[in-house]
């Protein structure tokens, strides 16, 4: 691997923050989160908690049809209702706004209110702005919409056939994108291999389902022409200009204010529709307007469902269990629009071979449009799906060979010492020790004990099963993955930076400003506090962290793809490095020692080995701000630095896309083991043991990392066993509430042990790798494996999710009926 490809600034940061013999004082400690107290007191100030003077409230009318022409809308009765300020329809959008942003190709246009036709159940057809939400909802009932129903496109396979209705007539097909990528000599490898297995697999449509729905307050100031939007969206600096485009205003007239979100899990990643909508409504009435999705609207109109994929997948392998080649073909049901293009498959391609030495890969994708909610992001962004596919194939191969499921994996693991490792797609794995993680998880659970336990239980007629699976956890996406799909992309960005401003005020307080998000369940303030504490050796609780609004923001991309901890740490470390240089120069003057003899200690700077020769940051800051004539002549006043940290290691794809370049290189690794017992008569199950071991590089805060692992695991459990968005034959969502969309409760989840191994990345600040999605990448695979193992006597193979209780009973009963 040519290290020269690394971003020079990031390389400097990596060098300066690399581990030394001196133990780190603050990184790696399970410190309490600095974000917590305000949330514990109920003072989190989520979007719906904010009240602006004169604020109005909006509610929406969602389409009762999945596909229909809008013939007419009569708003007169609604407008006559006292308290109603304005009724808004697609006509207003057509007159005053532009379509919503999209990364998808082709003439697929989405508007914030449907204009001529609706393309999915629940799509907004009208909105009411009123004095309060109750009145707005009263008025929504009075709006009379006449629809002309159109043939509904629901089955993505049928949607590709001649004669199907089109979701977007202008596209002339429902297949928005279709391509086969070939990496290596796939056909030859399949031919040469001793064996292969092929499976049809189905991954269901589920969604992140945060407790806090998407919401925004638009606040148009007619005097300045500035539209201020408070929103619980992530990533706002990255796409601000796109929202401005939809509102037809200059980006300089748009100010986004980040607001804490009660969970995202992807559902607020690049969330643009709701903020744009609120801004638009506010511009129409010249007053602040709040719009918060209710739960029903969140489920039927959130644009952020997870993947919905049908696969045919094959693995070629030899009799000794060595994997040779992988062939994957996917029809992905994207729903009615294509806001992120096919980026979720880029994620898959970043770690498509998992931790295994597979040299040849073919990947075919057909992105199909149907009359369902649009797909968005969901924790894992497609990599959780591909990991399920791969681990399913591996379990099937083990069974085919009658080889132990641990052993077949062990034989194929990429050896320690081969990093950075280039995968067939061109993405690299920066570092790793997969054998170490495996050894640790086997030791953690006493695997042999549970194998023995399972055998005894089986002898008693009980259905006990063990699942053991591995996963990669890619982190820190490069924006090349948004366009490398296309031969001739119109827009080819390569930046995905993150920034931080660090200043020390005249009293010595350290204040850090972040530039792309607010808190949403992650721990940005804690991470930053620990990094600052590490650099300056101050009490992390003393560090002040705040968030810039978009008008004051430096370049940033925001959380997503497990990038934020890595990137913000790099940005803060870069700014800290600059500040520390300045502090050293001042201190060197004041203490009359060489800079090389100084160290940061005890909240200030001191002479190495001389305990009483020490200046506090306040001493230095006061000089820096107030005593210009005491500073070196070339040094300006103040103690402030800002740093923009670019993706440390990314390269361009090649022209024919046989090499996608490096786009997701900091790769963690994990193993989970689950032992379950299934009640084959009712289909219910319980956990007897669950253990996870993760390697996310250098750990910033073990306890918050555990929290991410456990939370992600439980979300993956939901996908595996409980959750699915269901449509009826007319394309209506059948479970638009929590009555039938089942989120795991405290009684449905495993009690886990979580272990860690630390293999630092050589490329990132401190060697940190992202770790926000790992848990969810494993649970679907492990539940499939464990349930299948528990039902071994029935010869079951799990090929679709969620694994329902009814399915389990059916398997068990049809076998016993035989």
């Amino acid at each position: 691997m040519n290290i020269a490809e690394q971003d020079p600034n990031a390389a400097k940061v990596a060098r300066e923050t690399a581990g030394t013999d001196k133990p780190r004082r603050w990184l790696g400690k399970s410190l309490n989160r600095v974000e917590d107290p305000r949330f514990l007191r109920g003072q989190g100030r989520y979007l719906d908690d904010i009240k602006l003077p004169g604020m109005l409230h909006a509610a929406v009318v969602g389409s009762p049809h999945a596909h229909a022409k809008i013939v007419s809308i009569d708003t007169s009765k609604a407008e006559a209702l006292p308290g109603v300020v304005r009724v808004v329809t697609g006509k207003d959008v057509a007159e005053h706004a532009a379509p919503l942003p999209s990364f998808g190709a082709g003439p697929i246009v989405q508007d914030m209110i449907a204009i001529e036709k609706v393309r999915h159940y629940g799509e907004t057809v009208a909105a009411v702005i009123a004095e309060d939400r109750y009145i707005a909802e009263d008025a929504c009932e009075l709006i009379e919409v006449v629809y002309e129903p159109l043939p509904v496109v629901l089955d993505p396979v049928a949607a590709r056939e001649d004669g199907s209705a089109f979701v977007h007539d202008a596209l002339g097909t429902n297949t928005a994108y279709e391509r086969t990528f070939t990496f290596g000599e796939v056909d030859q490898a399949f031919e040469d291999a001793d064996r292969s297995i092929t499976a049809d697999l189905y991954w269901p449509r589920s969604t992140g389902m945060p407790m806090d729905t998407n919401g925004a307050i638009g606040d148009y100031d007619p005097g300045s022409g500035v539209v201020t939007i408070h929103a619980n969206s992530m990533n706002f600096t990255y796409f601000l200009w796109l929202i401005a485009g939809s509102l037809k205003i200059p980006a300089s007239k748009l100010r986004l204010v980040p607001v804490p979100a009660g969970g995202s899990f992807g559902s607020k990643f690049f969330m643009h529709k709701v903020p744009t909508f609120a801004g638009f409504l506010s511009m129409l009435v010249g007053k602040p307007v709040k719009y918060v999705e209710d739960r029903r609207t969140h489920i039927t109109n959130n644009d952020h469902c997870g993947s919905d994929r049908r696969y045919e997948a094959s693995l070629a392998f030899d009799d000794d269990g060595e994997f040779k080649a992988l062939r994957i073909s996917c029809i992905d049901d994207y729903g009615a629009y294509l806001q992120f293009g096919t980026g979720t498959h880029g994620n898959a391609l970043s770690q498509i071979v998992g931790p295994y030495r597979i040299q040849h890969v073919e990947y075919s994708l057909a992105a199909v449009l149907t009359n369902k909610n649009q797909q968005g992001a969901y924790r894992g962004f497609g990599a959780e799906v591909s990991n399920w596919i791969l681990e399913r194939l591996v379990d099937m191969a083990a069974r085919d060979l009658d080889l132990d499921r641990v052993e077949i994996r062990r034989r194929n693991l990429i050896p320690a010492g081969s990093f950075p490792y280039r995968t067939p797609t061109g993405n690299i794995y920066d570092s790793g020790n997969y054998q170490g993680v495996l050894a640790k998880v086997l030791e953690e659970v006493d695997y042999d004990y549970w194998v023995d336990y399972r055998e005894k239980a089986r002898a008693e007629g009980r259905h006990v099963g063990i699942g053991i699976v591995a996963s990669q956890e890619r982190s820190v996406f490069s924006s090349t993955e948004f366009w490398f799909w296309f031969d001739d992309p119109q827009f080819t960005p390569t930046s995905s930076p993150e920034s931080a401003s660090v200043r020390i005020d005249p009293t010595g307080e350290i204040i850090v400003t972040l530039h792309s998000q607010s808190m949403w369940g992650n721990s940005p303030e804690t991470v930053v506090s620990q990094v600052v504490a590490e650099e300056f050796d101050v009490d992390p609780a003393s560090v002040v962290v705040n968030y810039a609004d978009s008008q004051n923001a430096l370049p940033g991309t925001g959380p997503g793809g497990s990038r934020y901890t890595v990137m913000v740490s790099g940005a803060v470390a870069g700014a800290a490095s600059e500040l520390k240089d300045k502090i050293r120069r001042i201190a060197s003057d004041k203490l009359e020692v060489a800079e090389a003899d100084l160290e940061f200690r005890d909240g200030g700077v001191g002479v190495v080995g001389v305990p009483d020769r020490h200046l506090t940051l306040a001493d230095i800051a006061l000089t820096a701000y107030m005593f210009r004539l005491d500073l070196p002549p070339d040094m300006p006043s103040g103690l402030a630095a800002q740093s923009t940290y670019d993706h440390p290691l990314t390269t361009l794809p090649n022209a024919d896309r046989s090499d996608l370049g490096i786009f997701y290189p900091f790769v963690g690794h994990a193993w989970h083991i689950a032992v379950v017992e299934v009640d084959a008569e009712t289909g219910s199950f319980e956990f007897l043991r669950y253990a996870a071991v993760h390697d996310a590089g250098t750990i910033v805060n073990p306890r918050t990392l555990d929290g991410q692992v456990i939370g992600g695991t439980v979300q993956g459990l939901g996908t595996a066993m409980f959750e699915e968005i269901l449509y009826d034959a007319e394309g209506r969502v059948r479970n638009a509430s929590f009555e039938h969309y089942h989120l795991p409760s405290s009684m449905d989840v495993p009690v886990m042990t979580v272990g860690h191994q630390e293999t630092p990345s050589p490329y990132t600040a401190y060697g940190i790798k992202g770790a926000g999605e790992g848990g969810r990448m494993l649970t679907p695979a492990i539940m499939s494996a464990a349930i299948e193992d528990a039902l071994w006597r029935f010869g079951v193979t799990v090929t679709s999710l969620p694994i329902s209780a009814e399915q389990i009973v059916e398997w068990a009963s049809s076998a016993s009926d035989v």
């Binding site: 009263d138 009712t682 409980f722 269901l726 009555e739 039938h740 009684m747 209780a805």
Partner: protein
């Protein structure tokens, strides 16, 4: 998701409540609200008048009559029933079933009478009152009547209750000595609405022979389904009951719904029925 406007009265006497209900169409009774309020917010139910009976005195609480019969006021909170020593002592199925009903926070508000009058097909207490041959006392401005629980439910969300009537109490005869209860249920997640449920009581004599048994299933028919288990009387209830239970369900065809098929319900109902009977027998055998 806000309810449509409605007029609201919170009468402080039973007569006032009954006269409000008698006054006209479009009134509905609000008790615990755990089932009604979601329907109001979805605007599926749009009453002109909501009669909140929570301040009506005399229709809550659990009393034991001289002959041991339990008299449970309709406004008794579900959690009060679960905490009741009298209920525990007199009729164990009530608590065995009731503990599956929702969560502590919904049981603090949800009422016994509300659960019966709403008659959701998954409501555990409907199975219990049918199994226990409860008598339901109903009042209206015209007078009062008593309806057997076994005649009260007419379909999912349907009962013999007229719009102007109010269910005021439930009378449940005390169990004989050495009676045990069992209740089993499956749901999508812990304490979600039942997909299938079975409740049973078994009474044994000193020799361990069954003298009485009841078995009621939920969600296999349009109302709580009482399975004839009279053949168990005189036996010691062994493990060989599967065939009899299967046979007694032969004629029913449970419906499919969004979550599970009728076939699943029917199959699992047999399992749960046997487990409920088994538990009931075990409890009876250790009862004083």
């Amino acid at each position: 998701m806000k309810a449509a406007p409605f007029a609201y009265r919170a009468p402080e006497t039973l007569d006032e409540a009954l006269s409000l209900l008698a006054a006209g169409d479009g009134a509905c009774v609000l008790a615990g609200g755990q089932s009604l309020v979601p329907l109001l917010k979805a605007r599926v139910v749009k009453p002109t008048l909501v009669v909140d009976v929570n301040r009506v005195p005399g229709i809550d609480g659990i009393e034991t009559e001289a002959n041991g019969t339990l008299r449970i006021g309709a406004l008794t909170r579900q959690q009060t029933l679960l905490d009741s020593e009298a209920a525990r002592a007199r009729q164990p199925l009530l608590q065995a079933a009731g503990r599956f009903a929702g969560y502590l926070a919904t049981r603090h508000r949800g009422t016994v009478g509300g659960s019966l009058a709403f008659a959701a097909p998954w409501a555990e207490l409907t199975a219990a009152v049918v199994a226990l041959d409860a008598q339901l006392e109903i009042r209206s401005a015209d007078g009062e009547r008593t309806v057997a629980a076994r005649a009260f439910f007419t379909g999912p969300y349907q009962t013999v209750l007229e719009p102007h009537e109010l269910l005021t109490s439930v009378r449940i005869p005390a169990a004989a000595a050495r009676t045990g209860a069992g209740f089993h249920e499956v749901s999508a997640r812990y304490r979600d609405f039942a997909r299938v449920a079975a409740g049973a009581t078994v009474t044994l004599d000193d020799a361990g022979t069954c003298t009485a048994a009841e078995l009621v299933l939920l969600r296999v028919a349009s109302t709580p389904y009482r399975v004839d288990v009279s053949h168990l009387v005189g036996t010691s209830i062994g493990e060989s009951e599967r065939a009899a239970v299967v046979e007694s369900l032969a004629g029913i065809e449970p419906e499919d719904d969004i979550e599970v098929s009728g076939a699943y319900r029917k199959r699992v109902a047999v399992t749960l029925a046997l487990r409920a009977l088994h538990d009931a027998r075990e409890k009876a055998s250790v009862a004083a």
